[in-house]
């Protein structure tokens, strides 16, 4: 029986059946991501949702949220989100990337500052931008590599976080190249020792324990 035109009671209000689910997923995403500007983030979320792209949504709730006052506001989780959204292409458009950056409620100035480390035109290799982002998370080169490993790895969280040694050495060389203080010979020797270690036991994968723990131990 179709509903009459006039409404008499609250029971006649029709709620689309898919609305609660969408609303719930959105709420969950918002709670997880904890965006600074919910409206901006929501625009990005729903545009991504409507286009069928990966959603700007953190996989894990990050308790120590970046405040954007003392640091860049960038966190490993946000970088992971960006990686999720952009890793399917080798090169990403800067405009596109900036839009995604904005959708994550990150300040554009930081984006520009990041790019000034490695100036480029229009598009940038995603792995490079990721390496830059990792380096901006703070800490030494080693911690940057740790973050990179944790972002790039296919292993479950908390696992050995292994990545191919090729990628590792590429990023390491790239980052070491940006840093003028590091002599090239040291880099190569370090990489050689790591390579020996890895090739002795594994199938070309380098894990977090291979370089980070060792460092800590020493």
């Amino acid at each position: 029986m179709p509903l009459p035109d006039t409404m008499f009671c609250a029971q006649q209000i029709h709620i689309p059946p898919e609305l609660p689910d969408i609303l719930k997923q959105f709420t969950k995403a918002a709670i997880r991501t904890q965006p600074a500007d919910v409206l901006q983030w929501s625009a990005g979320y729903f545009s991504a949702l409507s286009r069928g792209e990966p959603l700007p949504m953190k996989d894990r709730l990050e308790m120590p949220v970046a405040t954007q006052k003392t640091d860049t506001g960038l966190t490993q989780g946000l970088l992971k989100v960006l990686h999720k959204q952009c890793s399917h292409k080798e090169y990403v458009e800067l405009a596109d990337l900036e839009q995604k950056w904005k959708n994550l409620c990150l300040p554009v100035e930081k984006f520009r500052a990041l790019l000034q480390l490695d100036p480029c035109e229009k598009k940038i290799k995603w792995i490079k931008f990721l390496a830059l982002g990792c380096s901006s998370l703070g800490g030494s080169l080693n911690s940057a590599m740790k973050n990179l490993c944790q972002i790039l790895t296919a292993d479950p969280e908390g696992g050995p976080a292994r990545i191919p040694f090729k990628t590792f050495s590429y990023v390491y060389r790239y980052l070491a190249g940006l840093d003028a203080d590091l002599p090239r010979a040291d880099t190569e020797s370090y990489l050689d020792t790591l390579k020996e270690n890895i090739e002795s036991r594994k199938n070309g994968m380098i894990g977090l324990a291979d370089f980070f723990l060792a460092k800590r131990k020493i």
């Binding site: 006039t6 609250a10 969950k28 709670i31 894990r60 969280e157 908390g158 324990a209």
Partner: protein
């Protein structure tokens, strides 16, 4: 004139009659003309005429003699019938042929011809006044063949009733002479019973003419109402008719005189056959006589082909026949038995009051207001559930991450343990090997020392032994020359 209505009526009639006589030929001539003008006079008309005559009579000179004559005539009783013809004078004489005709009418055998209306009217007037009270109310021959009343009507005036000890006689007489319905009287009587009749009108039309009757009377023709009432007044109240007491002297059931001469009845149950036969014969004879009498009576001729006889009232005045009570059959049919219908659901009667209010569209429902609780539920529930789910998933993910981290640590530590174990094993093996080596060295040392000691001892021990043994053995003869020994042995054997 008396004040009694009945007596008054009677006196009127006689006045009429006498007036008719007194008027003479001129009056009669005018009367006839008048009659012919309005020929079929209804019942009331005669009465009017009488009235007229009465007035015309009493107006000029109401002589006491006339009045007394009338009174006397009216109170005459039985001989009045005969006397009337004389007293009536010309009118009475002129209506002489009328009498048998009127009598014949009762038998309905002679169809009534158009008689002289005047005469009959007059007769009716006279007769009615005088005799009607004792006549049978219904004159209809079909309904009441005997024409004899079973009782005198209760409206008999006391005066007349006292004069006639036996109403039967009187009635018979009156019936034989005048059988015309006394319409005037009837009208009067009915008026007395049921009040004045509106349709009977009397009017004095011409006041100026002194001698002639100037009354005109008009009345609609109507059937005579029956005197017998159709219905009893009530079922509970019996008709208050006076008991009919007959004279016991004439009652045949009462035996008078002595009873010796009476025949004693035969024993009951055994009638005398002779008596029986006689009775039967008497009965038969009576029957035969009756039949013969019936055959002798003149009868109505058979109807012509294509017609048939119908009973018709042939009286001058149409009268309502009420002998036979009208019966009407009424039927009532109840329904066939039906199954009892199921007991309907009990619905208690509504209590309270119904009130109504007009509500226009949009007055009752405010979407923003109505949607609020729903939205609260929707949002609140969604957030709550999302929070719960996020927390749960976070917890799970955290657990898993910790699990993986621990697994990683464990892997690392396991590797370390393995390494240590291997190292330990190697160390142990080395130790064993070295112990063995040392042990072998010590063992060799000891063996060598023992050997040296034994050699020295043996050397020292055997140093004295050899010469003594040789000496003893030599002494024992163990060292000899086999050839010498052989020779000796041979010599000795040869000697012995």
């Amino acid at each position: 004139m008396t004040n009694l209505p009945k007596v008054l009526g009677l006196s009127w009639c006689h006045a009429c009659v006498t007036a008719g006589a007194a008027r003479g030929a001129a009056g009669r001539q005018q009367w006839l003309e008048e009659k012919q003008q309005k020929t079929p006079r209804p019942a009331g008309s005669t009465w009017a005429r009488e009235k007229e005559a009465d007035i015309s009579l009493t107006k000029p000179a109401s002589t006491p003699e006339l009045g007394t004559t009338a009174t006397r005539a009216s109170l005459a009783g039985q001989p009045l019938g005969r006397r009337r013809s004389y007293g009536a004078g010309a009118a009475g004489r002129s209506q002489e042929p009328e009498v048998p005709r009127a009598r014949d009418r009762n038998s309905t055998e002679v169809p009534r011809t158009d008689g002289d209306p005047r005469c009959s009217a007059t007769v009716v007037g006279v007769a009615g006044r005088l005799y009607a009270p004792w006549r049978e109310p219904s004159v209809a021959p079909t309904a009441c063949p005997g024409n004899l009343p079973s009782r005198p009507p209760h409206f008999v005036s006391p005066l007349l009733a006292s004069r006639n000890p036996c109403p039967w006689h009187y009635l018979h007489l009156s019936g034989s002479h005048d059988t015309l319905a006394p319409t005037c009287l009837k009208a009067r009587l009915h008026r007395k019973e049921g009040g004045p009749r509106p349709d009977v009108t009397l009017s004095l039309t011409d006041h100026s003419s002194p001698a002639m009757g100037t009354y005109t009377y008009t009345s609609r023709p109507r059937p005579l109402p029956c005197q017998r009432r159709r219905y009893r007044d009530s079922l509970l109240q019996p008709e208050n008719e006076p008991m009919h007491f007959g004279n016991i002297m004439y009652d045949r059931r009462v035996i008078r005189g002595n009873t010796y001469a009476l025949q004693t009845l035969p024993l009951a149950g055994q009638p005398d056959p002779v008596e029986l036969q006689r009775q039967q014969q008497a009965k038969r004879r009576a029957l035969a006589r009756k039949r013969a009498r019936e055959q002798l009576r003149p009868r109505t001729p058979e109807p012509v082909e294509g017609r048939k006889h119908v009973d018709v009232q042939t009286e001058l005045y149409l009268e309502e026949i009420a002998d036979r009570i009208i019966e009407v059959d009424m039927e009532c049919q109840t329904d066939a038995f039906l199954d009892r219908p199921p007991t309907p659901l009990f619905i208690p009667a509504k209590t309270g009051k119904d009130m109504a209010t007009q509500i226009l569209e949009g007055e009752l429902f405010d979407f923003d207001l109505e949607v609020k609780p729903m939205l609260e539920v929707l949002v609140g529930k969604t957030i709550e559930q999302s929070l719960l789910e996020v927390m749960e998933e976070e917890e799970l993910a955290h657990l898993r991450a910790n699990q993986y981290a621990y697994e990683e640590l464990r892997n690392i530590e396991l590797a370390e343990v393995q390494r240590l174990e291997e190292q330990e094993r190697r160390h142990r093996e080395e130790k064993e090997r070295r112990k063995q080596q040392q042990w072998e060295i010590v063992h060799k040392h000891m063996e060598t020392a023992q050997k040296i000691a034994a050699r020295a001892f043996a050397q020292r021990f055997l140093a004295d032994l050899l010469p003594s043994v040789f000496g003893s053995l030599r002494d024992g003869g163990y060292f000899y020359d086999p050839v010498e020994r052989g020779l000796w042995r041979f010599l000795l054997d040869s000697l012995f």
